[in-house]
Symmetry: C2
Subunit: 407 residues, 2 copies
Amino acid sequence: MGLIVQKFGGSSVANTERIRNVARIITDTYKAGNDVIVVLSAQGDTTDDLLEKAAEINPRASKREMDMLLATGEQMSISLCAMAIEALGYPVVSLTGWQAGVRTSRTYGDARVSRIEKERLESELGQRKIVLVAGFQGVNRFDDITTLGRGGSDTSAVALAAALHADLCQIYTDVDGVFTADPRKVEGARKLDEITYGEMLELASLGAQVLHNRSVEMAKKYRVNLEVLSSFSGKPGTKVKEVVKTMEKSHISGVAKDKNIARLALVGLNHEPGTAFKIFSLLAKEKINVDIILQSIGRGDTKDISFTVTRSDLPRAKELLELHHKNLGFERIEVSDRCAKVSIVGAGMIGSPGVAAMMFEALFDAGININMISTSEIKVSVLVDETDADRAVQVIHQRFFREFDQK
Amino acid sequence: MGLIVQKFGGSSVANTERIRNVARIITDTYKAGNDVIVVLSAQGDTTDDLLEKAAEINPRASKREMDMLLATGEQMSISLCAMAIEALGYPVVSLTGWQAGVRTSRTYGDARVSRIEKERLESELGQRKIVLVAGFQGVNRFDDITTLGRGGSDTSAVALAAALHADLCQIYTDVDGVFTADPRKVEGARKLDEITYGEMLELASLGAQVLHNRSVEMAKKYRVNLEVLSSFSGKPGTKVKEVVKTMEKSHISGVAKDKNIARLALVGLNHEPGTAFKIFSLLAKEKINVDIILQSIGRGDTKDISFTVTRSDLPRAKELLELHHKNLGFERIEVSDRCAKVSIVGAGMIGSPGVAAMMFEALFDAGININMISTSEIKVSVLVDETDADRAVQVIHQRFFREFDQK
């Protein structure tokens, strides 16, 4: 018994039947004696429908008005779900972002939660009501409605859990939890019972779409106990916490793939100090995020620098570099968007130097070429051809998990 | 030049094309040098769609949650229309009910506007922005969203016009203005250039659906100059004001019909003082509105009392009277819901005693039987059989308007 924050995504509330299902999960939690705050996303395709309507009227609509429009989606979800809970005979109240005291930065379309004004929430909980809060939205200092950008509802849930010192923050989704690899694609992928914030962060940023990075970062910062679980299966999910208790059989907790990757190579750069600085400060100024960077050993008086960006940033990055061609002094630019990043993640690999080698060996055995390598304390990423990506995940997963299973 | 409040109904913003049309009307008004506040209803069928969704989940949902749900409709309209105005290159901001400072009574589903907190509105107007306000909604003392019930968006517009001392409040709809009779049904019905608040009130309450009574009452109270006009035709509409300047050719301004009428007759009541009081205080206590009352002259020691109520109140009224059968002491109850009320309205009839007679003569000539009669200073209503109603309107209209035309 305690305070539990639950978040349900758009597919969990897509229609009447699913809303009823969610209402049952919520009231079961309440019946067990807990205080319950629930964060809901917009129903299924609502947000896409609204975006389409807006695009028809004005493809360059202001972000302020887009937020005003999009925020209606979550407001519909909370009121409909409140009605379903009323039908089950439980006390409930739905609150929009501003009513729930979710104050944000001023940026429309991608606002940050700045603080939670808790009075209303605490007063409703004090009356033993189930409190439904519209996710993805808040209100800025001008009393304008803002939305929180991608993964916004997860962020709403974690922010509320942090502010109210919730005992647990459950993120309900359409998968059973966090897996060692994508279970739809990798045979033998299995659900993890627990995972650390750090591992979860690496997995999320590497394309495992279960939880958005922002919410995990916030959970880590405020020590919010997370659980990722399915609103359909009723099975226990994956707990995300600071330290994982269980002895892991493997050094890694997952294999992830990210196809949203493009590679640029500046070939024939002058071999002089400050070149890398110039390139990457130029890109940073234009808010282009650079991921893996590889600098070749200079041959004579030139060198090559390769790096990756997201695919959508590729045209802008290329244009920018060409514009500064003279200043940077390179021979040519080579680009490719036919690559993918495959990574292994695991807090356990810190003390196990053989982990990276095991990954490379698996790829070598399968005849998969590695274009770039990047490592962090709990992650090893390699850049491979897009066509090799799925097979790369499989052979790596098999090496790390199958073999342990067989022991 | 001045401050103009414009209100557009659901059919005026039903789709992208119509929203663009509305955006043009608004920006034309702004271009002419006016400050402009615009109140919008939900798009076309949005409210019905939301009601249907709610009914599927919980047919007895609380009014609080219904208001939370329904308020999204107007929020969508204002943001989409703001985008259309942005596309035309004008400064605009959309505001929900709470952002626009529309404070209401606590009653969900049918709240009254209690006051307008003007700071935000004045600040946006001060920046020369076109201000779009979500109609039909406000916020009560608990900071809960409330809706204003039937005709709510008209009420929002008039309340804003009153609070900000607007020079004009234009109610855009899908008809050209207020007509002497329903133009779809009565040949020769014509648009009035002007009409008094009092006449408009009588017409609205008699079933002419152009403006809701609440908004006209508020306009009368705060002397708001109203204009009813079409968002499609571009023609001048009907002005609603305190005193009408033009010399009317006719003594009356319109003929209206109301089919939402049922008649009850208590036959064989004891002819003693206090019977009428007992009956109508009983009904009043149950909030059943009584319209026309007719008491027959007593024959010996009994009398009959007939009266009308709205059709939806008929079963409750009948049940109530039967319950108090002994106390009231009547012989039997006769009920009929096959009747209609036909009325003529006109401030000009006060000084013209022949007006009522002219109406009765027209009905007599057409062989239409009058069941009950009720008069006020600016109105004469008769109860006729439902099957006679449309013909009654036509012959009365012809008598009052055609004959004047021919002179």
